[in-house]
Amino acid sequence: MFENLFDHLDQIFVLLKQVLVGVLPAAWQPVASVVLCVVVIIGLFPALFALAVLLERKGLGRIQNRLGPNRVGPFGILQPIADGVKSLTKEDIVPISADWIVHFLAPVVLVVAVFMGFAVLPMGRNMVLVDMDAGLLFYFAIGASTELAIFMAGWSSRNKYSLLGAMRAVAQMISYEVPLLMSSVTVVMMTGSLSLTKIVAAQNHYTYGLPHWFIFTPWGFAGFFMYAIATTAETNRSPFDLPEGESELVAGYHTEYSGFKFALFFLGEYLAMFSISGMGATLFLGGWTAPLSILTWVPSWIWFFSKLMLSIFVFIWLRGTLPRLRQDQLMNFAWKFILPLCLLNLVVAGIWRFMGDGWLRWVVCSAILILAYLVMGRWGMRRQHIAPRSYRYAE
């Protein structure tokens, strides 16, 4: 009885969709089904965006020993509504020298490209809009086209801060896209498929009640960490938020945007965070599968969105904790540390694949990765003298 109930709860959105689409004539049903899913995605994630912005402002306030927004509604929880109304009613200013067509198109292209990424994410059992054979490839192809939107925004504003911010953003995104793809390729090597539903299915096994998530293997652990670092840079989040460094560039590539267009950039940034966190959860954290076999009765979509919000929490935590990097540190980190480790991780994943079951592969793979991490870390730091900072004029 109860199992049946939870099964229905697990599939509640799928069943709901079948009921809603079922009232239409048969010829319209495929189209209606897709349209319904798209409407849900377009409605759900901006709602989650409002929640995440509130969480971020409250969380950052807590980290910085202040209250955060507390004027609108009880404890300030209606702040996102006030923000939304404000950005919708603000005047939309376009600089007189700006290239207005490209200036207008840039936020649209960004948000459309980011929304398309959600199409292939499996958000629960049987809950994926398009179950594509090459889903992962589609996701990264769409993700790569957001760089052009950022360039368009920075260039069309005819403002040196915008242009510098856009150049920084594009350089950073291209640099960190390489480790992003490289760390994901290990998962493809293991599952032998680019389909995201198959990648989740490959992790949906349990031994002694513990899941077979890829993060619980040496290559998956290393891959997940490099993926997480690359996503932080890819979404221009602190500590990699140089493209928006307020102290140097006003607001980076969206300096000349106001009103609703600025809100679209803001939305795009958060949606990119959601989708790339969802992708990380799918690749390494088992997607919608439960963390313990005794918890499999909890609906699958709850797990997916819990993992997603946990990633958002870590993003906020990092932003409140870490200082911003310098441009050369950022590039050196990507090309001289993360990329070689990613390449090594590919080899380790190959070793893991061909050593077969047994404890030996755990020892060998872990040893290679830890040794490489230590040696490369020390080698990279050999000329750095870490000591308390001394100020020449301020003491």
Partner: protein, 166 residues
Amino acid sequence: MSFVFYLLTALTIAGGLAAVLLKNTIHCALALTVAFLGLALLFLNLDAQFAGFAQILVYIGAVAILVVFAILLTKGSETPTDGVFSHSWLAGLGVAAAVFATLGWAVLSSVRVLPHETSVPTATVAEIGNALMGRYVLALEIVAVLLTLAMIGAVIVAINEKAGSK
């Protein structure tokens, strides 16, 4: 030919035409990206998922960015005051027409030589991967070595320039 095919063809051709006819070089680069996108969508329309997504990933994600960076870092970013047509546009038109005619002739004559395929060929991403790693592995590796050499060459060129300016 379906309606979608004509729509995508119009998009691709419009992008290509805009890329040669617009005055501002950055606009041209962006129009070229539209043409790339149209090509990718044409591949997808033919059920060639791998080719379509690779087209987006490589051409829109990398080549277009490279083009706009190259335009911004060189002096070509200024909008020309006189028109975009060069003095030798007639000769260019002739060469382009000749190339198009040759290609068209080759394509049209190949239809008669090759047997007409009755079933639509299907190539999954896994099959393409197996072919690349099996039968065509030598070609793949040669291309990889070539690209690595090109990258090293570019780095060496950049290093020499820096040393010479000291």
